[in-house]
């Protein structure tokens, strides 16, 4: 009795007839308003101008003002730096996985940060301790972090925010305001010592020609992944003028040799 002719037809007809009397799925939209929560404010959206540029200036006032921290910022912008996104995590490619994990009840890694190199945050804790966790000293804290790590790791900013209680957006805003603070780890860091002995030996000329070759100068953001900065203190025993490449003292350079080294660095990896 597995096959009865017409039984399938009868079952199908019975199904449609049952459906005929069931409540309908249609929502009569203009007459029936959808059930919306009282505090619903619609979908957050970043606006673009007619040229396709993001109108948002990344002032972070919205994120700072948002009482429930629903506005979220992270990612990368068109310059390869930080990008602003906000709204639900599902909207952003880099955060969809996170959303899925959260719904699955599994531990959520923080992809907005974990894509950066993990750092040992104990140094950050030490710096904060030194500045007494004072938010007013944020610039000094950030500079110390950059001195320690060579750049400001995002994980460090996050740690600062967690420990000091300052909003992430505020720290990020301050860090992006000052041009000598950087988020990218430079490929190479060229440091020029400007102690009296080195200055006497022509450190200023070397710094100028090096900066001209790299397209940057001391106190400016790195160019081509190469940062030029001032050595905090003369390495004892090193000859003047002292120039270090990634912390390694270079043999005594003339201005022309410094320019050649700068061009080599700007052109690609050091041979």
């Amino acid at each position: 009795m597995s096959f009865v002719p017409g039984l399938g037809i009868a079952k199908g007809m019975a199904l449609t007839m049952r459906r005929f009397f069931e409540p309908k799925a249609t929502i009569q939209y203009p007459e029936t308003a959808p059930d919306i929560a009282v505090r619903f404010r619609g979908r957050l959206q970043l606006l673009y101008d007619e040229l396709g540029n993001l109108k948002c200036e990344t002032c972070f006032q919205c994120a700072a003002a948002c009482p429930v921290e629903c506005i979220d910022m992270g990612g990368f912008d068109t310059k390869g730096r930080f990008h602003v996104h906000w709204g639900a995590a599902e909207q952003y490619a880099e955060r969809r996985e996170e959303s899925a994990l959260r719904r699955a009840g599994r531990p959520v890694p923080d992809p907005a940060y974990s894509r950066f190199d993990p750092i040992d945050t104990s140094a950050v804790d030490g710096i904060l301790e030194r500045y007494d966790f004072d938010q007013k000293e944020m610039l000094a804290i950030l500079e110390s972090i950059q001195r320690t790590y060579g750049y400001i790791p995002v994980a460090a900013v996050k740690r600062v925010s967690q420990v000091s209680g300052a909003p992430y957006a505020l720290i990020y805003g301050r860090a992006t305001y000052y041009s000598h603070l950087r988020f990218e780890k430079p490929r190479h860091t060229v440091a020029v010592c400007r102690c009296t002995a080195c200055l006497m030996a022509g450190a200023s000329r070397i710094a100028r020609s090096m900066g001209g070759a790299l397209g940057t100068e001391i106190g400016r953001p790195p160019a081509g992944g190469v940062a030029l900065e001032q050595l905090p203190a003369h390495i004892p025993g090193a000859a003047s003028p002292l120039v270090t490449l990634d912390g390694t003292p270079q043999p005594r350079l003339t201005a022309a040799a410094a320019a050649a080294l700068g061009r080599t660095l700007a052109g690609g990896p050091v041979a």
Binding site: R19, F20, T26
Partner: protein, 453 residues
């Protein structure tokens, strides 16, 4: 500058229209009255001498006029019923519960461009929908809607019906051929193959009924089933009824046999090149066909206009002659009924609805209630007093039952493959109908005293 020119120049455009329209209307009225006076009596004599002709013309016109509203009702019914079966609401914007949807649909189709693609045989292309539609309409002519209410009681009624049904194929083939499109041609041939294949079991299944009724006249077939529901041919010819139902589904191009013009396919078969009202005619013909096959099933197998049980109170209201009270009497009756009824129902609405109804709301509502009640009373009186009203009600109830069954099937069943379609007709329906015919004939010979006539 004459007086006439100056007057014309000083008139507004509306006045000019009136100035043209009024003389034309007067002239038309004079001509009409004159023609009636001069030509009326001989014309009436001619009509009186040729009553069958008059009857035929009137019936044809009436049925032609009947088909369009029928198609509208069926389209709306289908939209609404299928929507409900799909858990949707269906049309609900135009008219009450969306009832004017199909009318608007028809107007839309009518307002489209009358377009014939390059290369078409325009004459045949134009005639094809007409042939299809007229074939459907002509087959309505022999269907007995009620006792005395039919186009023509041919003694070859069923034969006429099937021949007219066969004409549909001609229309479809014309459409496919004249479209200058190989897909249309293939679609037309496919339709012809399907309809002709199913016409054979359709016709053969009815032969048993013809043997039992002893006539091909539709009226006789209905009369042969009079009595109670147990006298219906569906109980004497159950296999024939099933075959007829299935074959009629294919004949009307309904799901699951709607290969002819499969709605969901991109290429619409024979109608590929058709648009606007030409396509509208095919569309209408399809729905008229649904009505016709439903009516035919009701007529042949389910007793037509006969009631399913013996009607115990067939009164005759002969004691009342509508003209005996005169026009003034009617005016008085209607005015009093309307006034008193409206007031009574309005008071009832006020009492029941309380403060919710304003005065004018209550009066309007009372008037509506009155109309419903009066219509119901008049209908009931007609149902009791005139057997054609009762017959029409029963006939329509049965017909629409099958119409809804067809719609129901469309909402449920998927389309069959074309080889399954043809195989089913030739391998199953045809042998089954032959078997049914054989058994019926044998039974009639055995049970008739003195052998077959």
């Amino acid at each position: 500058m004459s007086f006439a020119t100056r007057t014309w120049g000083g008139m507004s455009s509306r006045a000019r229209l009136l100035a043209i329209f009024i003389p034309v209307a007067i002239a038309a009225a004079v001509v009409t009255v004159g023609a009636l006076v001069l030509l009326g009596p001989p014309f009436l004599d001619f009509l009186g001498a040729n009553m069958p002709l008059v009857r035929f013309v009137v019936a044809a016109v009436a049925i032609l006029l009947l088909t369009v509203p029928t198609a509208f009702v069926l389209i709306y019914l289908e939209l609404k019923v299928i929507a409900r079966m799909n858990l949707r609401v269906g049309p609900n914007r135009i008219g009450p519960w969306g009832a004017a949807m199909s009318v608007i649909h028809g107007l839309k189709v009518l307002s489209k461009e009358d377009f014939a693609p390059t290369g078409t045989d325009v004459t045949v292309f134009t005639l094809a929908p007409v042939v299809t539609y007229m074939a459907s309409v002509m087959s309505l002519l022999v269907i007995p809607f009620a006792p005395g209410l039919f186009g023509q009681d041919f003694n070859i009624g069923l034969l006429f019906f099937f021949s007219m049904g066969g004409l549909t194929v001609v229309g479809l083939l014309m459409a496919g051929w004249s479209s200058f499109n190989k897909y249309s041609l293939l679609g037309g041939l496919r339709s012809a193959a399907q309809i002709i294949s199913y016409e054979i079991p359709l016709t053969l299944s009815v032969v048993g009924v013809i043997i039992l009724a002893g006539s091909m006249s539709m009226n006789r077939i209905v009369l042969a089933q009079s009595g109670s529901a147990l006298d219906w041919f569906v109980f004497k010819q159950p296999l024939a009824a099933l075959i007829f139902f299935i074959a009629a589904t294919a004949e009307a191009n309904r799901t699951p046999f709607d290969m002819t013009e499969a709605d969901s396919e991109i290429v619409a078969g024979f109608a590929t090149e058709y648009s606007g009202m030409r396509f509208g005619f095919f569309f209408f013909a399809e729905y008229v066909n649904v009505f016709i096959v439903s009516a035919l099933i009701a007529t042949i197998f389910f007793g037509g206009w006969t009631a399913p049980f013996n009607w115990p109170w067939a009164y005759n209201l002969n004691w009342f002659h509508p003209l005996s009270i005169g026009i003034l009497g009617w005016v008085l009756i209607v005015a009093n009924v309307v006034l008193i009824g409206t007031v009574l129902f309005a008071i009832a609405a006020r009492l029941l609805g309380g403060r919710e109804w304003g005065l004018w709301d209550a009066i309007g509502l009372g008037f509506l209630f009155l109309l419903v009640v009066v219509a119901g009373l008049v209908g009931t009186a007609g149902f009791i007093a005139f057997d054609w009203v009762a017959g029409l009600v029963w006939f329509m109830a049965k017909t629409y039952f099958f119409v809804i069954t067809f719609v129901w099937m469309r909402a449920t069943l998927p389309r069959v493959r074309v080889d399954q379609l043809m195989g089913f007709a030739w391998k199953w329906l045809l042998p089954a109908s032959l078997l049914n015919l054989f058994v019926t004939a044998a039974a009639v010979i055995v049970t008739t005293p003195g052998g077959a006539r």
